[in-house]
């Protein structure tokens, strides 16, 4: 396999609604920024991978075709990836394979998502209709009629984890929320920068036990793009390549009845193990300088500490208590603000996380810069109780 580098990247602001842009107009903005960052003309792109999650959100099936057209990439090969919340990470995986295999030299990986064009006229808001659109991704015969949400699926796992290991506690989850909302105050792209207290999080209204309002990410619109290139091309066009040195992926049984338990996410553990082995990461806590983990919910960020082997199984809550994952800690997690602070524009999220880590590795992260960052982790998860996980190790 050939070495693959990120040679350009761009992202729109993550916002609750981009009422003045359609999904392909948003995608255009991110693609343009990524091309400018790489110093490439669009015709240098050999192929494209689009991460777009929900067709109801876009109000369009096969939205990738219209993005491709709008970006002026006609006659170039492209493919659309949809792996729930892990769509962005999964798109990066396919883009990596396109270049590493030698099939193509330059690959655009672009994620985009609208969502708030969906609208509940009675309640005068989008969220319940967004959730309704998502519920079509639950098994339509057996699960959809139960009225569950993405949050309730993950809540079942967090409750099971808490019952088995005694954590995460409500307070530990609240600390994660405070951390990520605060980190977002230093990220000009973020949707939810907020200075909160643990008490405010714990007193916010219950959504699905044990998640209160501030334990959940919000729905977001935005687009993020990276341009991947082979070593040969990368070394010719940029002096600040960011290398994808490790990549791991796993897809678990979507029906949890087929799993041995639901208190751990085995797909996440496998993906992390594989990415570390490929990158030569022996002790993640020592070997990584920062991580962007998929914190759709505070409780699942804590589970991710374990699933990414930052600590022993069952010890996740201790890393937020002892400050390890704080901005000044040994391994800062979600300096972007994560999904909770920066936002969750589903198809774009994994690419935004990658953008964030790459920004630190290039030393361009401004007020939130992790000093001397050389190596970082991206974790992208999605689907019922974490069906998919993709992990990437990035290095400069």
């Amino acid at each position: 396999m050939r070495d693959v580098a990120i040679v350009g990247m761009g992202t729109t602001k993550f916002k609750s609604r981009w009422v003045d842009k359609t999904y392909y107009e948003l995608a255009f903005d991110a693609a343009k920024m990524a091309l400018e960052d790489a110093g490439l003309e669009k015709d240098r792109i050999d192929c494209a991978v689009y991460g777009i999650y929900n067709d109801f959100f876009q109000r369009q099936y096969q939205p990738d075709a219209f993005v491709h057209d709008y970006l002026g990439l006609g006659l170039k090969p492209m493919v659309r990836v949809n792996s729930g919340g892990a769509t962005g990470g999964a798109a990066l995986r396919i883009g990596y394979a396109e270049v590493a295999s030698g099939l193509y030299d330059v690959c655009l990986v672009l994620g985009v998502e609208k969502c708030a064009d969906t609208y509940n006229y009675e309640m005068k808001m989008s969220t319940p209709e967004v959730l309704r659109a998502i519920l079509y991704t639950a098994d339509m015969t057996y699960d959809n009629p139960a009225g569950r949400t993405a949050a309730s699926g993950f809540a079942l796992a967090v409750v099971a984890h808490r019952d088995k290991f005694g954590n995460p506690t409500e307070e530990q989850m609240a600390k994660v929320s405070v951390k990520n909302h605060f980190n977002a105050t230093k990220n000009p792209l973020a949707q939810s920068p907020k200075v909160l207290t643990v008490e405010e999080v714990m007193n916010s209204r219950m959504i699905v036990e044990p998640f209160k309002f501030y334990d959940n990410c919000l729905y977001t619109e935005g687009s993020s793009a990276v341009i991947l290139a082979s070593r040969e091309v990368a070394e010719r066009i940029t002096d600040k390549p960011v290398w994808i040195s490790g990549l791991g992926a796993s897809a678990d049984y979507v029906m949890p009845g087929n799993r041995p338990n639901i208190y751990t996410f085995e797909s996440s553990r496998l993906a992390a193990r594989k990415a570390y082995a490929m990158a030569g990461v022996k002790d993640p806590l020592q070997d990584l300088d920062l991580a962007e983990l998929h914190d759709a919910f505070t409780g699942t960020e804590i589970m991710a500490y374990e699933d990414c082997f930052f600590c022993e199984e069952g010890q996740g809550g201790s890393l937020i208590d002892d400050g390890t994952v704080m901005p000044d800690g040994q391994l800062p997690v979600n300096l972007s603000g994560g999904l909770i602070g920066c936002g969750h524009a589903v198809g774009a999220t994994g690419i935004m996380q990658t953008y964030e880590v790459a920004l630190h590795l290039r030393g361009e992260a401004g007020r939130r810069q992790k000093k001397g960052a050389r190596r970082g982790l991206v974790q992208s998860i999605g689907g019922t109780l974490c069906t998919w996980t993709v992990c990437l190790v990035l290095e400069r």
């Binding site: 009422v19 003045d20 109801f56 109000r59 064009d117 509940n120 006229y121 009675e122 309640m123 005068k124 319940p128 209709e129 959730l131 309704r132 998502i134 519920l135 639950a138 098994d139 015969t141 057996y142 699960d143 009629p145 139960a146 009225g147 569950r148 949400t149 949050a151 309730s152 809540a155 079942l156 796992a157 409750v159 099971a160 019952d163 209204r205 219950m206 959504i207 699905v208 036990e209 044990p210 029906m255 949890p256 009845g257 087929n258 639901i262």
Partner: protein, 181 residues
């Protein structure tokens, strides 16, 4: 648009999408009255909808048993003896055709949470229980919701029993779970 045209617009969209005129008027009066600048984003009502005559394929008997006989069936692998409910025609590990087995309809809650917020289709039912139930005699989990008086009395380990609705349509919601006394 003049007032008459606006009213016609509301009526047309109410008929087309089932959105009451009062909601449409609230959202669109400003736009239709010409108060938005020409370059401002223009929003329109829309809906995605497809009708089906959906086939349950090899799971058909499961739903016919629910509807006709108020019975819950599982599917047993003759090789590894795993019993699936929801049923499947083949064991996903052994790749052998499964056999139908009638279940008692009793079970136990294996994972449980309480939803206080949900999709627009279910929002009027909160708070309700969201749980995975393992039916007795099976090795699988069934997603369910439970509307109960006191959600705090339901949890992991609660024994439950399937109860059938009077009007059954051949869907998974033909039955629901209630706590076993």
């Amino acid at each position: 648009m003049d007032k008459q045209q606006r009213e016609a617009w509301y009526l047309y969209h109410q008929q087309k999408y089932g959105i009451p005129v009062e909601y449409l008027r609230r959202e669109y009066e400003r736009e239709l009255a010409g108060q938005n600048p020409m370059d401002a984003p223009l929003e329109i009502p829309d809906k995605m909808e497809v009708f089906y005559k959906y086939s349950y394929g090899q799971q058909s008997r499961f739903f016919r048993e629910l509807r006709e006989n108020q019975a819950v069936y599982g599917a047993k692998c003759p090789q590894c003896s795993k019993v699936y409910c929801p049923p499947r025609a083949h064991c996903s590990q052994c790749y052998k055709p499964t056999e139908w087995v009638k279940l008692k309809g009793t079970g136990i809650i294996k994972a449980c949470t309480v939803q206080h917020y949900t999709t627009s289709a279910f929002i009027k039912k909160v708070p309700f229980i969201c749980a995975y139930v393992q039916l007795d005699g099976t090795d699988f989990l069934l997603m369910t919701n439970m509307e109960v008086e006191d959600v705090s009395k339901i949890g992991v380990g609660t024994r439950v029993k399937a109860a059938f609705r009077e009007n059954r349509h051949g869907t998974i919601t033909d039955f629901y779970f209630k706590p076993l006394e």
